[in-house]
């Protein structure tokens, strides 16, 4: 089958799966009382939580379709799926029992193991080490690569998780990031990375329909950690590390500013001062207390109060720019100084 047709088929299969699963999943989660409060709305509605399960199902179906069409991709897709499922299990446990922030982060560090194991078993299919950088080519800093590899999944997983705070921000931003990874893969001729990106993109577009403002479902940690892990896994397996880092800049900014202002990893309930104050009309204002974490929302609201929808659009504008920068980075990977 033609490569472009394969990518479209994989994208469509993951999209259809998530789109069809979500209504039933939302109904089921609500019936079991698995709900969260939408704290940024004046009436504080109860919204179905853990909807990220629908994203994972979409990715799995997309990956199975890819493997049926091209069984040679098995090592890459097994590593990709194992990483996502392992992260999803951590998120699932966290959603039900609330792990300590440090425990959750430590567990996500372990999720790089399937990629390394598959890389060692199938070194020709999964080539780890020596990433390609813009203007430089393959970087000869192999020790640093292996030392950083454990964080290649943990950092995006936790960074995406930390930005899953407003309706449609995580899903909308990650739609653009996965599209950026897909286009970058095509530019660089990495067909299997394009297929993996298509599984994520299809599932996320469908999920965004339900998660966009006003949200009918929240992804929960099971969803946000898994989506971040999927982005990390595509970047590492597909040799798109720098594209992934670039596209994730708003997420990294958010995590870095929050952590540096808080002075360490804390769970949401452990943070005494919220970054944003919601008034009775649902208008959001930056919390100017010095103990409030400097999240992106806090920084965006410094210029003045906004509705949640206005704030979400600002977030998406940042992600759109970073996703374009990701594609520019892919182009620059072919340029040598």
């Amino acid at each position: 089958m033609n490569r472009m047709a394969t990518i479209i088929l994989v994208l469509a299969s993951s999209f259809i799966t998530t789109f069809l699963v979500m209504p039933k999943l939302i109904k089921y989660l609500k019936s079991k009382g698995i709900v969260g409060i939408d704290v940024h709305k004046p009436d504080k509605p109860e919204i179905a939580e853990m909807g990220g399960i629908g994203i994972i199902l979409g990715i799995i179906v997309g990956a199975i379709v890819s493997l049926i069409i091209d069984p040679k991709a098995a090592p890459k897709f097994i590593a990709y799926l194992a990483t996502i499922i392992l992260t999803a299990i951590i998120g699932f446990i966290d959603d039900l029992y609330t792990l300590k922030a440090k425990v959750k982060t430590a567990l996500t560090i372990l999720t790089f193991i399937p990629i390394v194991v598959m890389g060692l078993i199938f070194p020709r299919q999964i080539r780890l080490g020596r990433p390609v950088l813009p203007f430089i080519g393959r970087l000869r800093l192999t020790i640093a690569y292996w030392l950083l590899l454990p964080f290649a999944i943990a950092v995006p997983a936790n960074a995406v998780n930390m930005m899953d705070t407003y309706n449609g921000v995580m899903s909308g931003s990650c739609v653009m990031i996965s599209l950026s990874l897909l286009i970058s893969s095509l530019i660089l001729g990495r067909f299997y990375a394009a297929l993996m990106s298509a599984t994520l993109l299809g599932a996320l577009i469908a999920y965004y329909w339900y998660n966009r403002y006003p949200a009918r479902v929240f992804s929960g940690d099971v969803g946000s950690l898994s989506v971040g892990a999927a982005i990390g896994a595509i970047s590492v397996i597909g040799g798109l590390e720098i594209v992934g880092v670039t596209a994730l800049i708003p997420f990294i900014m958010n995590a870095f500013y929050s952590l540096s202002s808080l002075g360490g990893l804390l769970e949401r309930h452990e943070i005494k001062e919220r970054p944003v104050i919601v008034d009775e009309n649902g208008v959001l204002r930056a919390n100017l207390n010095s103990k409030a974490p400097s999240t992106l929302a806090n920084l965006l609201l410094l210029k003045g109060p906004a509705t949640e929808l206005e704030l979400v659009k600002s977030y998406l504008a940042l992600s759109a720019v970073s996703s374009i920068l990701g594609i520019v980075t892919a182009f620059l990977m072919g340029v040598r100084l």
Binding site: I136, V245, F256, L300, L302, K303, S314, V321, L325
Partner: protein, 82 residues
């Protein structure tokens, strides 16, 4: 307030962060990677790797601090206006 008006400075910081990240990679490639020390045995090869790692780490740290100071400047500028 329009979306672009709210986010334009942060977009600027993000683009500046990206450009300086690429410059940091070039600095690592041109300054850190060529570092070599005489290697009479395997331990010195490990030491060379460690020196390169620390050098790359210092450049990465400078980049992170630069990024942080940009945001601090942005905060002071915006709050100063308000």
């Amino acid at each position: 307030m329009r979306v672009i008006e709210r986010s334009c400075e942060l977009i600027g910081i993000m683009i500046l962060g990206w450009i300086t990240m690429l410059l940091a990679f070039i600095a690592i490639d041109r300054i850190i990677v060529p570092i070599t020390i005489p290697k009479p045995n395997y331990l010195f090869a490990v030491l060379e790797g460690l020196i390169k790692l620390i050098g790359a780490g210092i450049i990465a740290l400078i980049w992170l601090l630069f990024w942080r100071s940009l945001v601090k400047y942005y905060k002071v500028k915006v709050l100063g206006k308000g």
